[in-house]
């Protein structure tokens, strides 16, 4: 699904190096958690996968389904099934969620040679998704994220993900700022979308999200490199011992 090889990247504006040789292989159906302290580069990695232009890839490769992602525009990546759930979803007053998602879905369908979905079919389709995720219909008529609470915004990200049906879902600190109820709702939404064809890269600072979205692999990112990988028990060990423990053992 995804193969990241020796990825180096810097901030486009000031040339500050953030990623210093990341290697990561994600197979279909797998959930990989990327953990790391603030400033380790984990959010940068998530944003680079989606094509954010604030960062510049200076070396290495991101191969997604046999194709080099770094050559593609953000919208092209989305059309090919990459989805980033934002840490800070953007509010767009005056544009309803329904309109926004129909524009997004139809752009994806057009890029993949499928016919546009008409408004009646689309309404039926998203109402089903709303029901599946246990959300309220009013979400559809509200403007994108306008006046949403932190929890509502993150739920809306998962809802968008459900509608667009991506193959590679990247979650950037989806747990940040959520209370336990919102965290559980969001995690249940993600779990409902897990399938043998869909992979997840879950970026998080804290282990608690991983109690609800159980990963197949956990990677610790520090100072722009993956310094340790393991299974879900690594996250628990990290929770217990703190990032300081790793700094000592791996010497970064």
């Amino acid at each position: 699904m995804l193969e990241i090889k020796n990825l180096h990247a810097q901030v486009a504006e000031d040339g500050k190096e953030i990623l210093r040789g990341i290697n990561l292989t994600v197979k279909p159906g797998e959930v990989h958690a990327i953990m790391g302290p603030n400033g380790s580069g984990k959010s940068t990695l998530a944003n680079i996968l989606a094509g954010r232009e604030d960062y510049e890839v200076t070396g290495g490769e991101i191969v997604y389904r046999g194709e080099d992602l770094t050559e593609l525009e953000p919208e092209e990546r989305a059309h090919k099934g990459v989805f980033l759930a934002f840490q800070y979803p953007v509010e767009i007053p005056g544009v309803s969620n329904t309109y926004f998602l129909r524009a997004a879905l139809n752009a994806k369908r057009a890029a993949n040679g499928e016919s546009e979905m008409g408004s009646m079919d689309f309404m039926k389709y998203i109402r089903e998704k709303v029901k599946q995720l246990g959300l309220k219909d009013e979400l559809l008529t509200r403007s994108v994220n306008e006046g949403f609470s932190g929890g509502e915004k993150k739920r809306n990200e998962i809802f968008q993900m459900a509608v667009l049906e991506p193959s590679l879902c990247v979650l950037d600190e989806t747990d940040s700022g959520l209370d336990i109820d919102a965290l559980q709702t969001v995690a249940a939404g993600v779990n409902a979308l897990r399938s043998p064809e869909r992979s997840f890269v879950v970026v998080t600072h804290y282990q608690r999200l991983l109690n609800f979205i159980v990963p197949d692999y956990v990677h610790i990112l520090m100072n722009g490199k993956i310094v340790k990988s393991g299974d879900k028990s690594l996250a628990l060990e990290l929770e217990e011992k703190g990032y300081g423990w790793l700094e000592e053992t791996v010497g970064v």
């Binding site: 989606a50 954010r52 953000p74 919208e75 980033l84 767009i92 005056g94």
Partner: protein, 433 residues
Amino acid sequence: MSKALIYESQIGSVLAAVNRDQEPSWLVELRDRGAEIHSALGVPTMRNEEWKYTSLRSVAGVNWNPGEPGPAVFGEDPTYYAETTIRVVLVNGRFDRNLSDVPATSGLTLMSLRDAIYEKPEVAEYLGKIAAIDDHTFAALNSAVFVDGVYLHLRPGAAVAPVIEIVHVTSGEGMVIAPRILIVAEENSTAKIVEQYCSDGSSTNLTIPVTEVFVAKHANLEHVRLQDESLDSYHIALWETKQAGESEYRSYNLAFGGSIGRLDQNIDLNGEHITTRLDGVVVARGEQVIDNHTKLDHALRNCNSFEIYKQIIDDKATVVFNGKIFVHQDAQKTDAKQTNQALLLSRDATINSKPQLEIFADDVKCTHGATVGQIEETFRFYMRSRGIPKATADAILVYAFAAEVLELISDDVVRERLERRLYSKLGIDLGEM
């Protein structure tokens, strides 16, 4: 000859073309006063504070001719009309019976102003009494030379459901076109009006309309004005409204057209418990100059006014906003909110923004805010990451910027037509919203 001299000799011929022989004395007096004011003020220069950012040198340099009836070729183009409306059409400032469609409607009089001057004695009580032409040289010129226009009268208690459209078309070139519109909404009446200015092809005229509106006690009017003339034309207008107590007037100025498009919109809140909206959406592209001066006069207590201006500026265009709010001494408990926002789509776009609040009462709530910005990269990336192409993402964001005002327009058909026009003006195709 200097530009000023050319202008004066030419405008003399425009003035001389008016046939006043049969006109009532009150109108002749108004015409004399208008001609006198225009001759004294001439064409303002940028030294005039009210014209600081808008140069009229190009207007002064044209050999202007009197307006003449134009061919009405455009007629069938449905983009000009909504289907469910009562409609009058003026071609080069003259009421066109063939293009107009005014079904008998209870409580509504809608007719040629020229006819109304002779047939409706009450016209004398309003015409020239609402618009303050002393400081407005082109409104003064309009008073001196207008040939025709529209008289719209709502009887007390009249409730007109279909939208009333007043469509002005200009065609030809080098003419001074001076339509005059008088709208009188008597007590407790209600209606929705769309006043629209457009060109038949690439006309290069100077349009100088004056619109006078009287909103009596308890009356409720929604008034949309769309200025969408050709990009080679000049449009310099005065729109003035007087509101009586307990009335509501919601006005929306959409300014898209003209090489130079200038509107002075004044609203006198002359009573208590008045509600007023004065909103605008401006789109300027190419080298257009669009200049809106608004003035709200709060005379008495307990009135609310809301003003939102959204301005989208691309290429090398220039936009001017000057928003005056006067809260006079007797206007305690006034609640006045003014917001003006500019979205710059290019490095060469210019906005000159000047909120101007003068408050002489001490127990009032008045706020104003002005912002200038660009499309934020974060917003754009968010949409692109969902698969929406960059150009569409920008279009949606520009739409969203204007939507705060457009959404207030209550008639669905009119609003959707204006939205479609907004997109085509911006050169975008968003499909069905």
